[in-house]
Amino acid sequence: MSDTIKEPIVQFIDVHKSFGDVKVLKGIDLDIKPGEKVAVIGPSGSGKTTIIRMLMTLEEPTSGDILVEGNNLWKMSKKGKQVRANEKHLRNIRGDIGMVFQHFNLFPHMSILDNCMTAPVNVKKEDKNEVRERSIQMLERVGLGDKLNNYPSQLSGGQKQRVAMARALVMRPKIMLFDEVTSALDPELVGEVLEVIRDIAKNDDMAMVLVTHEMDFALDIADKVLFLDEGVIAEQGTASDVIEHSENERLQTFLRRFRSV
């Protein structure tokens, strides 16, 4: 890809979010460039997950703007005035974004293959045979080519999470969000899931935002690391910037606790 400066694909401008009286995010400003791999780290309850849930339209910001390819996600103009986005507006933008959840959220009433095929066929109205081909390829890529007709209940947690990634990838999103995708897994299954993410990060050109506690892994694959603390981005930069050059004491304490080296 050329070196021209790319317009950010996602922009957060002074985004705040409260749940009742609890202020979770207190002014987030953030740029994500196309293809950029961003890791969001920070203590529990710092609002990491809330950031990507707002981008996936699962949570509405209390104030501030989120732009996706220049379009305001949560606001639209109606008769010259800016109003709250309706479902149609959200749907138009949301199609470019995919998400993998902590608890997989596979559809239990569908086979693995149907889990992958249902959205491209029903939502994007793509050709069924083409989608089947692509889904099979994707499931083979995540190492589950032999489980096409199995149901989610027959898989291990790691396998389920790999299906969830295949399901998101088949939609060909421009932005992929990973919400603590290894947190619900048995320790011995974490590796297989991380391998798939590493493979996606290396070979696919979509932007990725990872919320994770797998610190070494995050620092390894991320172009940019955000350290979120008490509702604000306390530190951001390349992995080496953040680890080696940051003076932020809370970050250093946090890293010491979570890193194995």
Binding site: M56, T57, L58, E87, R91, R94, G95, I97, G98, M99, F101, H103, F104, N105, L106, F107, P108, H109, S111, T118, A119, N122, V123, N149, N150, Y151, S153, Q154, R167, A168, M171
Partner: protein, 237 residues
């Protein structure tokens, strides 16, 4: 044994059976009405508007807390007398409307419990995959919400079947009505009413067993489907 006469029994049987079609037909009609109208309640209650929610909730509560017999009488006798909106309905139609509406409030609750049992993550995944509202319900939510409610819905079918004789009070000629008519004509109630009891037993009991079986099937449905697939694959390999 002067009380019981097999002669009366065999004479009353064909007459009572004449009402069977009406009883069974009314049960199915009421049930179909209740199943459909249950959806109306369920979705009305999901409208995110406090006033509508309040009105719908209390209407349901009202219908559920008044006896179905009173509702039947109201629809059949009282409603036609209301100027403007009053309509005279046949006994059969009144019964479908009255019993169907009454039971639809219970069935609406069953749907609601089914929908609420669907994991929050399923809604979020449908959102993340950008499903339209219609497709989300059709492909993701209802296929998971409805199957577990089938045993409960089945129970209500049997309960409703047993309430259908109420319709004889407004002149629907089901088996109870026929038995009563026979009794009044011949001054012999024991045999015809016994026949009515037996018919209800013969129809309810097997239905209950069927529903039990359905329940077991529902609880193991995903495992079974998957097991079948494995058997097929095994046969190919």
């Amino acid at each position: 044994m002067n009380y019981w006469s097999w002669e009366t029994f065999s004479e009353a049987l064909p007459m009572v059976l004449q009402g069977l079609g009406i009883t069974v037909g009314l049960t199915f009609s009421c049930y179909a009405f209740a199943l459909l109208f249950g959806f109306v309640w369920t979705f009305l209650r999901r409208i995110p508007n406090k006033l509508i929610h309040w009105i719908v909730t209390w209407t349901m509560e009202f219908i559920r807390s008044t006896p179905p017999l009173v509702q039947l009488f109201f629809i059949f006798y009282a409603w036609p007398m209301i100027p403007g909106i009053g309509v005279t309905l046949s006994p059969f139609t009144s019964a479908i409307l009255g019993l169907g509406l009454h039971f639809s409030t219970y069935i609406g609750e069953i749907y609601r419990s089914g929908i609420e049992s669907v994991d929050k993550g399923q809604w979020e995944a449908s959102r993340a995959l950008n499903f339209s509202v219609f497709d989300k319900w059709k492909k993701i939510i209802l296929p998971q919400a409805l199957p577990p409610t089938i045993p409960m819905l089945g129970n209500y079918f049997i309960i409703m079947f047993k309430e259908v004789p109420l319709a004889s009070t407004i002149g629907v000629a089901g088996i109870l009505h026929m038995a009563n008519t026979y009794g009044a004509r011949n001054w012999a109630y024991l045999e015809p009413l016994t026949i009515v009891g037996i018919i209800f037993l013969l129809l309810s009991y097997p239905s209950a067993i069927l529903i039990k079986k359905l329940e077991v099937k529902m609880n193991t449905r995903f495992d079974k489907k998957a097991a079948l697939e494995n058997v097929k694959k095994g046969a190919v390999m």
